[in-house]
Amino acid sequence: GAGVSQTPSNKVTEKGKYVELRCDPISGHTALYWYRQSLGQGPEFLIYFQGTGAADDSGLPNDRFFAVRPEGSVSTLKIQRTERGDSAVYLCASSLGGSNTEAFFGQGTRLTVV
């Protein structure tokens, strides 16, 4: 597609449930990033993929968060046993790879845990 696509755009889930958030990067982009943006804050880095492997997952807040990118394209962010504090907009971005290359962001998935 023309840009980074994230689905769903909105997700409401009950506390304790499991959720999956999907990201379709720009075709040909080898680097993929997940960020989390809380209300009124800037995005915070979660994890970075180069190809299929997670090159840096230092931003994942705890072991309830996990992300995969099995074929080096689409990525899924998985959150287990969701908590109300997980409510935020989850942003995905992709780039051609290499350092300091422009990252193009998707519109985000707004996750609300009730």
């Binding site: 980074v4 680097a31 990033y33 009124g40 804050q41 800037g42 995005p43 915070e44 880095f45 970075y48 090159a55 840096d56 931003g59 942003l91 971005a93 780039s95 350092s99 300091n100 290359t101 422009e102 990252a103 193009f104 962001f105 998707g106 519109q107 985000g108």
Partner: protein, 112 residues
């Protein structure tokens, strides 16, 4: 040391005026400083970026001024338009990395 501090939190400017947003950083190892523009319900979009070996970069109505010794950089929007009303984020990253440290954002409103 990894924080990027951004000010002001919000800004109201008359149409045609100059909007100025400031950021400060602590870690001198940062080597790439982008500015992102975000509209409600949308993801951030790159506006303009600078590296520390340059003191100023201009693209159209948007200019980044960079003061390496003060560890500060700013975004100037000349001839501000109502369509510029959005939230602006500064960011920084380390050499050879891909993850940005974002500021807290500035909500700009340009009055018609």
């Amino acid at each position: 040391q990894q924080q990027v501090k951004q000010s002001p939190q919000s800004l109201i400017v008359q149409k045609g005026g100059i909007s100025i947003i400031n950021c400060a950083y602590e870690n001198t190892a940062f080597d790439y400083f982008p500015w992102y523009q975000q509209f409600p319900g949308k993801g951030p979009a790159l506006l303009i970026a600078i590296r520390p070996d340059v003191s100023e970069k201009k693209e159209g109505r948007f200019t980044i001024s960079f003061n390496k010794s003060a560890k500060q950089f700013s975004l100037h929007i000349m001839d501000s338009q109502p369509g510029d009303s959005a939230t602006y984020f500064c960011a920084a990253s380390f050499p050879g990395t891909y993850k940005y440290i974002f500021g807290t954002g500035t909500r700009l409103k340009v009055l018609a």
